[in-house]
């Protein structure tokens, strides 16, 4: 059973690779499942079995890259000595490294994601589970190790960080600097902000400039990405409570 499972996995990945290649050349819209099947050397019924629609391929792509990312992180010997910020930053950077190989393909996904009618954003959000799981775990460990104290909206943090992740990818797609140095700096700098937020008690006390920044910039910026998904309205309500409490 296990053997056939992994054979199945392999076929699925083969289809994915063919799809990425074809979509890179022809564009997402112009590549049909039929052609993808042909390219991957599988029958039409087979491909529909794996991917009932093209969107599912995108979903699987994002998920697959996250699985590979997670494997890389697991192989970092001293990963558990990394600070929370370093762990999160490594997650973002490693994922981006995979995207780099398929930059044109990822560009297409992102373009669709930001075209309101396409509904791809929801799709991308469906693929986030793995990501949120990883972030959650890092957070839990950091809290347990008393690296940070428990943030008031802990359950929303992974979601927020996913939003941030999408923002980073969007930035990277637009980045035309040499070796994407601007993205590297953008990540390093913004992770500094994330770190400061997680470490300070801004989130608890909610009474200084940091929160103002957080409130005005991060939330308004992220709202764009969040569409109807997520517990954003809830977060805002919570934030509102905190603010009013002061």
């Amino acid at each position: 059973m296990k053997v056939s499972q992994s054979a199945k996995e392999r076929t699925k990945i083969k289809i994915l690779e063919s799809a990425v290649e074809l979509m890179t050349i022809k564009g997402y819209k112009n590549a049909s499942l039929r052609e993808i099947a042909k390219e991957a050397g599988v029958s039409n019924p087979t491909i529909y079995n794996y991917f009932p629609s093209k969107e599912k391929i995108l979903y699987f792509y994002i998920e697959q890259k996250l699985i590979e990312t997670s494997q890389i992180l697991q192989n970092i010997e001293d990963f558990n000595t990394y600070t929370l910020r370093e762990q999160l930053q490594t997650l973002i950077e490693t994922q981006l490294e995979f995207y780099l190989e398929d930059r044109e393909f990822v560009t297409q996904i992102m373009q669709m994601a930001f075209t309101p009618s396409m509904g791809t954003m929801e799709l991308i959000y469906e693929a986030k589970e793995k990501f949120m799981e990883m972030v959650s775990e890092m957070l839990e460990i950091a809290i347990e190790a008393e690296e940070i104290s428990e943030p008031p909206f802990k359950e929303y943090m992974p979601q927020l960080f996913w939003d941030y992740n999408i923002a980073v990818v969007a930035y990277w797609i637009k980045d035309d600097s040499e070796m994407f140095e601007n993205t590297t700096q953008f990540i390093d700098n913004s992770m500094g902000v994330v770190e400061a937020l997680l470490h300070s008690n801004i989130l608890q006390k909610a009474n200084d400039l940091g929160l103002f920044m957080f409130k005005t910039h991060m939330l308004s910026g992220l709202q764009k990405f969040s569409t109807k998904q997520s517990g954003f309205s809830k977060i805002k309500r919570k934030l509102g409570e905190v603010l009013n409490a002061k």
Binding site: Y82, E86, Q87, T90, S177, T184, N189, G192, V193
Partner: protein, 435 residues
């Protein structure tokens, strides 16, 4: 947010613009105030203005951080007429590069060398052991040998030009119509060279192959593990300058190391015609068995035969105390005194240059020079430079650049010897100067 280095064009443009605007304000305030002041107050106010301007420049360089440290070094070496206030402010910006955390180190090494640090090297210490002006230095091993891996923070190279735009604006104002363009260009070109670790690798290899001295150790570069942003060189184990001094070394040890530093400079000058032009104590490692490690060849200066010939001739003339008229002629040949009537040229020499060369040549007057007895040497030197600067600004941009480099660097070394309270034997150097 204090680690932010804005490099997107708009952000940097905005910061540069802000700085230029602020400089304008600081200057005009000074001018307006000065119009109503007595002469004495005027001088003070001018100083205040300089300080204010320097602060504004540094503030903006501070936001642009990236390169300010190197600028400071370069400005100090290349623009010796800059008021002390500027240099002080600039040097305050030292060590302003944000730390490179482990996530970033992984990325940079992967990008530059094709694999993660632990895969590239046998072992790689993710905690940096040294701070470099543009990044940090990590310990790694290859085939059980220790190596120092210097890693540059991303995005430095592209921040040079906008940082220099700020500086150019400020300096142009300071130079009061004097032309600083070529100096700025020179500094800018040097900065571009300095951020390129491949050039540093070339220089290091040049010294490694050519500077032959039993007690001087120069790191070996691992070319396959070096790029423009990563430099892997053999690790030189030993004490830092501070650790050396703190260990309360004997007079003999002090003299020994100072002598090595002094001699290595003159060997560089005369035997291999390239000097290590960064007289920073951090660049020397006090190793076992009386050996001296010399690192950091990011800032070097090549010197040609013509320069060496006139430099030697001039120094010999100075040592032999030839008449001022003769010396003036030689400075004119070095393009440090503009063509004019002989009388004017002599005046310029006696007023501007002579006080400076007096101090440089003092070292060579005897076979030995004791910095313990002359512990005010660099202070005197600095004050004289300040005096000269007050007298003449327009003339300095004519200064022979190599000449300035050599003397500036020597002055830096002398400041170290002073701290070491060492006595140096100048006979070897004198022989070289006299060929």
């Amino acid at each position: 947010m204090q680690n932010k280095i804005p490099t997107s064009k708009r952000a940097r443009g905005a910061v540069v613009g802000k700085a230029i605007f602020k400089i304008g304000v600081a200057q005009s305030k000074g001018v307006v105030k000065r119009a109503f002041m007595s002469k004495k107050r005027k001088e003070e106010s001018q100083k205040e203005t300089h300080e204010e301007i320097a602060k504004v420049i540094i503030e903006s360089l501070g936001t642009l951080k990236g390169i300010s440290v190197k600028i400071a070094q370069q400005v100090a070496l290349g623009l010796p007429f800059l008021p002390k206030e500027y240099l002080d402010e600039i040097s305050k910006s030292f060590n302003s590069i944000p730390p490179i955390n482990r996530a970033l180190i992984r990325k940079i090494i992967k990008q530059e060398l094709g694999a993660y640090p632990q895969e590239v090297y046998e072992s790689f210490d993710t905690e940096a052991f040294g701070a470099a002006s543009l990044g940090q230095v990590h310990l790694a091993t290859l085939l059980s040998e220790k190596f120092a891996v210097k890693v540059q923070y991303p995005g430095i190279a592209k921040s040079i030009d906008s940082d220099m735009a700020v500086l150019k604006f400020a300096l142009t104002r300071f130079a009061k119509g004097g032309n600083v363009d070529h100096l700025i260009e020179e500094v800018q070109a040097r900065l571009h060279e300095e951020v390129d670790y491949e050039i540093e690798a070339d220089n290091t290899e040049y010294f490694y192959k050519n500077l032959k001295h039993d007690l001087i150790v120069i790191p070996e570069i691992e070319r396959q593990y070096s790029t423009t942003k990563v430099l892997t060189s053999s690790f030189l184990e030993g004490r830092s300058f501070k650790e050396f001094l703190d260990s309360n070394p004997s007079q003999e040890e002090r003299n020994h190391y100072a002598q090595l530093i002094f001699d290595s400079f003159f060997i560089g000058l005369y035997h291999i015609q390239m000097i290590h032009a960064d007289p920073n104590p951090g660049n020397f490692i006090f190793m076992e068995n009386k050996k001296l490690g010399v690192i950091d060849f990011g800032c070097v200066k090549k010197l040609d035969d013509d320069f060496l010939t006139s430099f030697s001739k001039l120094h010999v003339s100075l040592m032999d105390k030839l008449p001022d008229e003769e010396i003036t002629k030689q400075y004119a040949e070095l393009r440090m005194i503009d063509d004019d009537t002989p009388k004017k040229m002599l005046e310029f020499y006696q007023e501007v240059i002579k006080p400076l060369d007096r101090i440089y040549i003092e070292i060579f007057n005897e076979d030995f020079y004791d910095f313990k007895e002359n512990s005010d040497f660099s202070e005197r030197g600095f004050n004289i430079i300040m005096e000269v600067q007050k007298k003449s600004i327009t003339a300095v941009h004519n200064m022979n650049e190599e000449y300035i480099f050599v003397d500036r660097t020597l002055l830096g070394y002398y400041a170290m010897f002073e701290k070491m309270e060492a006595c140096i034997d100048t006979r070897f150097a004198q022989r070289l100067v006299r060929y």
